[in-house]
């Protein structure tokens, strides 16, 4: 596939990706800070107190963005892994490797903030229902992908094994997403969807979406930073790395 004007395969080598990633990171980092600060400001200073849940609902401004990122980053990671398996290109595996820890972190945060929200509103930190259990499985899938890669010494075998694991695990993502429709669960339904008008006040949705965009920008910035670390670690004996003037 070649898009007009740009030869995308030019970026498919670690040597080309490394400086490209480096030049993109500050922009995504800046956007992340901007969106998160504005989103949290709206969430905590503009959005009113919820008439049912009081101010406990304000956990939504980190919980939902973290939960969205946990699922989205898994699909991104599995996508890079599948691309790596299909095209047999190293940078795709490196991208998958770069995304995994951030996805695991957001999964952990979704579970933790959900627990802190569940206690005052449901009266319990945890229930073994479909939504919570499938999100916990997502955390194990992330950890499995990371640990499997770390456990195999040969990088090529590690890439392939953890990629297969990640791709198989992607079936869990639609299960998480639709769990609140498929099963009777304590967890509330989707906050917003493409087909139904939001059940929340518009200002609450705005704050939540802005933080979500901020987390997305943050994820790109840290994944690209980690990609550069992975490239340095794995290609350190290549002459182009040794000729780099790393700032």
């Amino acid at each position: 596939m070649k898009l007009p004007g740009i030869n995308w395969f030019r970026f498919s080598s670690p040597q080309a990706l490394y400086p490209l990633a480096g030049s993109l990171i500050p922009w995504f980092a800046f956007a992340a800070v901007l969106f998160i600060v504005i989103g949290l400001y709206i969430g905590f200073f503009v959005a009113p107190t919820d008439f049912q849940q009081g101010d406990a609902y304000r956990i939504i401004f980190v919980h939902v963005p973290a939960a969205w990122m946990s699922m989205f980053l898994y699909v991104v990671m599995a996508g890079w892994a599948a691309l790596g398996l299909g095209l047999k290109v190293r940078p795709s595996f490196m991208m998958a490797q770069a995304v995994a820890p951030t996805g695991a972190m957001f999964t952990f945060l979704a579970l933790l903030t959900g627990s802190l929200w569940g206690k005052p509103t449901w009266g319990t930190w945890w229930v073994w229902d479909a939504r919570l259990t499938s999100e916990l499985i997502l955390l194990f899938l992330y950890l499995g992908t990371i640990l499997l890669h770390a456990a195999i010494d040969d990088p090529r075998r590690a890439d392939r094994a953890s990629a297969v694991f990640a791709v198989v695990g992607v079936v869990n993502v639609p299960i998480i997403y639709f769990s609140v429709q498929w099963w009777n669960t304590l967890h509330q339904g989707a906050s917003i969807s493409a087909t139904v008008a939001p059940k929340m006040a518009a200002i609450m949705v705005a704050g939540m979406l802005l933080v979500a965009v901020g987390f997305w920008m943050y994820s790109i910035a840290v994944a690209l930073t980690r990609l550069r670390c992975v490239v340095l670690e794995r290609e350190r004996h290549a002459s182009w790395v040794q000729e780099l003037k790393v700032g």
Binding site: T49, A56, M105, L116
Partner: protein, 59 residues
């Protein structure tokens, strides 16, 4: 704005003990990830074998 004073803001209508740990854990995790990556990068940069002394100094 829903808050009359700083203490009201910190109380979060009685839910402060749930809301602030949520925000705090998120901020700490993200901050920790950034710091951990900075350390990882420093280690990775040091691990690159120095080949040419002139350029090596700027690595």
């Amino acid at each position: 704005m829903a808050w009359g004073s700083l203490s009201e803001f910190l109380m979060m209508g009685g839910y402060g003990l749930y809301v602030w740990p949520s925000i705090g854990a998120t901020a700490l995790s993200m901050g920790w990830e950034v710091l951990a990556l900075r350390r990882r990068r420093a280690t990775a940069v040091r691990s690159v074998p120095q080949q040419r002394t002139v350029e090596g100094k700027q690595r």
